[in-house]
Amino acid sequence: MLVLKLIQSLIATLHSEGTPGQVAAGIALGSILGLTPLMNLHNAVVFALIVILNVSFPGAMLGWALFVPVGFALDPAFDWIGRRLLLETPGLVPLWTGLANMPVVPLTGFNNTVVLGSLAFALAFWLPLFLTTRWGVARYRTTVADRMRRSRLYQAVTASKVYNLYRLFWPET
């Protein structure tokens, strides 16, 4: 069921009226939600950006859903990155000390190895993901989209309730 919803979401997103840039930005922002531990203040900021910025909301949800398992799988790597940054790089200690003693910033949980490691990875990964996705969506729409639109799978997906729900959040063009 989850996989089916993901396919529905993927197809609906790819065939939305949003530009490839909007879809890619949504997926890239959603990937931050998926890659980093959810219950942290920085994810509230990311969520607000997804809502406020004119990016594909379904794309963001898709990016979130796709990158949650990636986040779980990469947790050991994030832990390692965070450990390197927080504990094994003396040059960064003044920065962390300053941030840790500022108002609000400690509420982000940046001083946790997994949070910082995953956030650093997600931010570094954001631009490549955005560019690759934008290129991929554009290419899909010029080559496969028409054939897909005529397929039975597409007909089934667009007829579903999920698609109707998605229409509520489609991006403005």
Partner: protein, 585 residues
């Protein structure tokens, strides 16, 4: 027309979402805070922390906790403390830095060691710190009071473990070797050949004339040879005398080795503990260790959560579906500590007499970062019959933790004496505990005094056991209790000593009654040692005696012969050289 960057129509829903979040916080903040207090408290104490109700008011900057229960990390069905109400005045600004600063805490209705229904220990009391402290306590060996059977038994003696037989064998080998060496030396001297040659020369000199200069020269050379042989013989005699003295010392050493064997064999006797300090340690050592162990647990916990210095501190991250990771704290000078309780006013109850008594105490400067706060944490309580104080000084690099408490006129809990069917009910008395941990050095003392103790006996368990009867007769006549236990040394090498007024009374009485039995057992083990040692010791003694007498006889004979021939030669030469005109050179 370009794509707009902002989705303005989403601002409304976003604000609504924020408002919903705020409403959720307002509705559930108390519950979230309560759960946070329980989770953090449980993680810190190592035992379940429960809160019945928590009211958070950020506007007034106060937190009220009602029905706080902290389970004991050591005892499964006991609470460490319960509090009716705690009211904390908190600074709101540090909360934005994820820090808690409490200006004043008022705790009412604190009660200690109350019973509970379910085990409140985390992991069944097997947290790493508990394990560490138990391992430490394991180093403090408490002798078992071996009065359970009241029997004195003799263990098996292994001849290989005795030193006298080994010494006898070595001495026999030494004597044998000396005998061979001295025989060889005597043969090398060849005294008989020298004597025979001298005798022949003396015969030749009988018919000699003073003018027979060649013969006189030969006689003088023979006399020189005799003298040389005599000198070497004298050296050999000295060597033999020294060697014999060494062998005699060895024989005397056999007796000393036997005394050691007696002591060793006595160690194999399974005697009841008779020395007063051993009885004290056996009776009250476990209770003392339990107190010291608890004190060390809290000191170690303080060191874990109140570390000295300002270096980044890594602790395990929060539990969640994702990996917890490590959370690192970065304290900074002139900033708030992660936790600070400036002043705490505590009101607590302790059992005493007919009704519990209420006491007041004051806690100040409890902080997670003492180097930032710059002052040690102090606790003091003073009231009639109560004196308590504690200091956690982690401001400098070497932590220094001290605590001392003395309570008079309180109801002391009863306990069973180990290995004995006797229970002691101390009634009202005075209990004192002091504990100091500086770096790795530990110093502690626990004492209990009670003037009107009561003794209870488990008659079923004691039936038919003479020593149990004896112990009961002794202790049931003792009206007071005075126990004192001291701990010293380092954490790696702690030393425990315990004594009480029961020790001497029990030791003297048990020794009197069991003395004959013990003496008989000691005689038995001495006989066993003698039977194992004497055979070999007698052989080696005889060997040394024989060697000494043989050598004395042989050396005496040969010395006499040498003396005689030397005298005969000198006499004859003197007669020959007495003639006028002839002078011996």
């Amino acid at each position: 027309m370009g794509v707009p960057v902002f989705r303005w129509k989403a601002v409304g829903p976003l604000v609504l979402c924020g408002a919903l979040g705020a409403l959720t916080w307002w509705l559930f903040a108390d519950r979230i805070a309560r759960r946070t207090v329980e989770t953090v408290g449980t993680a810190v104490i190592g035992a379940r922390v429960e809160v019945r109700d928590l009211a958070l008011s950020l506007r007034r900057g106060s937190v009220t906790v009602r029905g706080l229960t902290v389970a004991s990390p050591f005892r499964p069905l006991e609470n460490l403390l319960q509090a009716d109400e705690l009211v904390a005045d908190i600074d709101a600004l540090p909360l934005l830095e994820k820090k808690v600063a409490i200006d004043r805490l008022a705790a009412k209705g604190l009660r200690f060691r109350t019973p509970r229904r379910a085990d409140g220990r985390v992991g069944g009391g097997s947290s790493p710190l508990i394990q560490q402290v138990r391992q430490w306590a394991g180093q403090l060996q408490v002798p078992a009071l071996q009065l359970a059977t009241g029997k004195i038994t003799v263990g098996q003696l292994d001849p290989m473990q005795l030193s006298a037989p080994r010494a006898a064998v070595a001495l026999a080998a030494q004597a044998d070797s000396a005998r061979r060496a001295w025989s060889a030396a005597l043969q090398g001297l060849d005294v008989s050949a020298t004597v025979d040659s001298a005798k022949r020369m003396a015969e030749r000199l009988r018919g000699a004339k003073p003018t027979d200069l060649k013969l006189l020269g030969d006689a003088r050379r023979t006399l020189d040879r005799v003298k040389q042989t005599r000198d070497r013989f004298t050296g050999l005699e000295r060597s033999v005398r020294d060697g014999v003295a060494t062998l005699r010392e060895g024989v005397a050493g056999l007796n000393e080795a036997r005394q050691r064997d007696y002591a060793f064999a006595r160690g194999l006797l399974k005697l009841p503990a008779l020395e007063a300090p051993e009885i004290g340690a056996a009776l009250f050592g476990a209770a003392a260790i339990e107190r010291f162990q608890s004190a060390l647990y809290w000191a170690e916990l303080a060191r874990q959560y109140i570390p000295p210095g300002l270096l980044p501190r890594a602790t395990p991250g929060p539990k969640r579906a994702r990996r917890a990771g490590t959370t690192v704290r970065f304290p900074r000078e002139r900033a708030y500590p992660a936790f600070l309780l400036r002043t705490g006013e505590l009101s607590f109850q302790l059992p005493g007499g007919a009704a519990p008594r209420t006491y007041a105490a004051r806690l100040s400067g409890l902080t997670s970062d003492p180097a930032l706060y710059g002052r040690p944490t102090t606790f003091e309580a003073s009231a009639p019959g109560l004196s308590a104080g504690a200091m956690i000084d982690h401001v400098r690099s070497t932590p220094h933790d001290t605590a001392a408490a003395s309570l008079a006129g309180i109801a002391l809990p009863g306990f069973a004496l180990p290995a004995l069917p006797v229970r002691l009910e101390p009634g009202q008395g005075t209990v004192a505990l002091s504990f100091a941990l500086t770096g790795d050095s530990v110093r502690a003392r626990w004492s209990v005094t009670a003037d009107r103790v009561r003794w209870a006996r488990d008659t079923a368990a004691a039936a038919g056991n003479r020593l149990h009867d004896l112990v009961w007769r002794v202790v049931s006549g003792i009206p007071s209790l005075d126990v004192s236990a001291s701990l010293g040394g380092t954490l790696a090498r702690p030393r425990l000593s315990v004594n009480s007024n029961l020790d001497r009374a029990l030791a003297a009485r048990i020794r009197a009654v069991a003395g004959e039995e013990i003496a008989a057992a000691e005689r038995k083990v001495r006989a066993q040692v003698d039977s194992l040692v004497e055979r070999q010791a007698a052989v080696v003694r005889a060997q040394v005696d024989t060697l000494t007498s043989d050598l004395a006889q042989r050396l005496g004979v040969e010395r006499t012969q040498l003396d005689e021939v030397q005298r005969a030669l000198e006499q004859r030469l003197k007669q020959l050289t007495r003639l006028p005109g002839v002078r011996l050179p």
